[in-house]
């Protein structure tokens, strides 16, 4: 920063900083193990393959699932696209309804819109209750009865609200699709850094997430899929490594996650993600949640007493995550972010890839601070002081 000012990083919902163990794991891969995987018998290739597959085992285990439940993707976005291309295109057709919400990230909207346009599948959106800023669960109870696929964000990247995914899954399974049960996709991108999720216990069919939001590297993420459902999926990205045999007439495919991992995979990235879950395993995630959630609650509370600041979110709920979205009555969000940046506070502004939610909130953008493990009360206090001075000067 200008003048060597220290940086306070409050943009963790966009991407987290990486612990040194993660950087070291990737360095060690590149320096000692670098080799392509699955394809050769030499020692390095064996070590690389073992490390890559061990990453699958350990990342899957961190989320309470056996290794054959986890397909590596480049992130949440590709994971949701894999559900759309690999599963929905093979299992849904005209007349089916995809139920999602107004609270979704674009990653959980646009793929369905494209599918809908192509296949005539209908999308319906559960609204946000304008007063409580939570999903309208009564509307969900009715809507789910017609739904074949339910796609819901676990924890909002704007409001910090955690949806009652347990109930959503329960309702989908028991009353979905006229009682025969709906499939459920959970966008866990913002949940994974905040709580320990057990995919198998959760009971959804698909769960998408990104490594880079939980201390891991960019370029990798995953889709968890129940194996019996994985079997009903068609190939998405195709090429080497995902095939069993290729002839000029046609090809047959691998079974399990490999069917969906074509080409040279994200090898170093898998080593890095593995290191990040190993690092996270050392924390009690209940305490991490409490720490981060408390920072958000405390910050939101103090901010709301700054004149003109308006908070968007429910920081009275215990389940709230580390996100505080806010606006000032007269200072534009973008100006706010610039001004805060000049004080060394990295704060995000914009529509947060959630334009329909912005629409529901009646704004075009918000400023957002988001905390993680390493943020402190002191940083929050300094932020409040600086924000106060900005509001005094520019408000």
């Amino acid at each position: 920063m200008e003048g060597g000012q220290p940086l306070v990083y409050f943009d963790n919902a966009a991407t987290t900083q990486k612990p040194k163990q993660v950087i070291e794991a990737m360095n060690s891969y590149y320096e000692n193990t670098n080799s392509n995987v699955h394809r050769a018998v030499h020692t390095l290739a064996g070590e690389a393959t073992e490390g890559y597959e061990m990453a699958r085992t350990e990342v899957a285990a961190y989320f309470g699932a056996p290794r054959d439940h986890l397909i590596f993707t480049s992130g949440t976005t590709e994971a949701i696209n894999l559900v759309a291309y690999g599963w929905a295109r093979a299992n849904l057709s005209k007349g089916d309804v995809i139920l999602t919400t107004e609270m979704e990230h674009h990653a959980d909207i646009v793929p369905w819109q494209i599918l809908s346009k192509e296949r005539g599948i209908e999308i319906r959106y559960i609204p946000l209750e304008r007063d409580t800023l939570t999903l309208d669960m009564e509307a969900f109870e009715i809507g789910v009865q017609e739904a074949s696929l339910v796609c819901v964000v676990h924890t909002s990247n704007v409001l910090g609200v955690r949806n009652d995914v347990e109930r959503i899954i329960e309702l989908s399974k028991t009353t979905g699709k006229k009682g025969s049960g709906a499939f459920v996709m959970i966008d866990a991108a913002q949940a994974a850094p905040h709580e320990r999720i057990n995919f198998v216990e959760l009971g959804c069919d698909f769960m998408a997430l990104s490594s880079h939001k939980m201390g891991g590297p960019t370029g990798i993420g995953g889709l968890f899929v129940k194996p019996e459902i994985m079997e009903t999926m068609i190939p998405f990205i195709s090429g080497g490594d995902m095939i069993e045999t290729v002839t000029l007439e046609g090809s047959t495919f691998q079974k399990g996650p490999q069917k969906f991992e074509a080409g040279t995979p994200r090898i170093a990235e898998a080593f890095g993600w593995h290191a990040s879950v190993k690092w996270l395993s050392k924390f009690d995630m209940k305490m991490v949640h409490e720490h981060v959630s408390n920072l958000a609650k405390m910050t939101a509370k103090k901010m709301s007493s700054i004149p003109g600041i308006r908070i968007y979110g429910r920081h009275d709920l215990n389940t709230c995550s580390g996100v505080v979205s806010f606006l000032h009555d007269s200072i534009h969000a973008e100006d706010l972010a610039h001004l805060l940046d000049s004080g060394g506070f990295a704060v995000r502004t914009g529509h947060h890839c959630a334009q329909p939610l912005m629409e529901a909130l009646g704004v075009s953008s918000t400023a957002r601070v988001s905390f993680w493990i390493y943020n402190t009360v002191e940083e929050s206090d300094a932020f409040i002081d600086y924000l106060t001075s900005i509001v005094e000067k520019f408000g």
């Binding site: 200008e2 534009h332 973008e334 100006d335 610039h338 001004l339 075009s364 520019f394």
Partner: protein, 142 residues
């Protein structure tokens, strides 16, 4: 070294005298209030919208009775509006042919570009291009 129209040069000097980024922002905010021809929100159209800005910004160019260039504009973010104002103060009244030749680097000299994101910088560049293109066309028409 670029040569700037004297009114623009004057503003650049003012920014150079600032102590830090915060002071430069204060100055930009101040200029935002000095925009010569503010484009009223009712006149914001898809046509005059600047693409690539995170926030809304609109600009229009006209000629005054003497054939001098006039920039009209507005933005919902003050820092953007400040930039529009500076540009307007800097070029208003000049012949369009001169406006068409202005270099966007004055923003670097003011040292505010460092505080623009690439997407904002992009928006600014888009705005700048809109203005230069119009000035070019105007200078041919004159």
């Amino acid at each position: 070294m670029n040569e700037w129209p004297p009114p623009l040069q004057e503003i650049i000097n003012e920014f150079k005298d600032c102590f830090d980024r915060m002071e430069r922002y204060e100055l930009l905010f101040e200029y935002a209030t000095k925009l010569p021809h503010e484009l009223q929100a009712k006149d914001w159209t898809e046509e005059n919208r600047v693409k690539g800005c995170q926030s809304e910004a609109h600009v229009e160019c006209t000629l005054d009775e003497n054939g001098g260039f006039q920039l009209h504009g507005a933005a919902d973010a003050n820092l953007v509006q400040g930039l529009i104002a500076i540009l307007a103060i800097g070029v208003n009244g000049l012949p369009p042919s001169e406006v068409a030749l202005i270099n966007p680097e004055f923003v670097d000299e003011m040292d505010v570009k460092a505080s623009l994101t690439p997407s904002r910088a992009n928006g600014f560049m888009n705005m700048f291009e809109m203005i230069r293109q119009t000035a070019k066309i105007m200078s041919k028409e004159v």
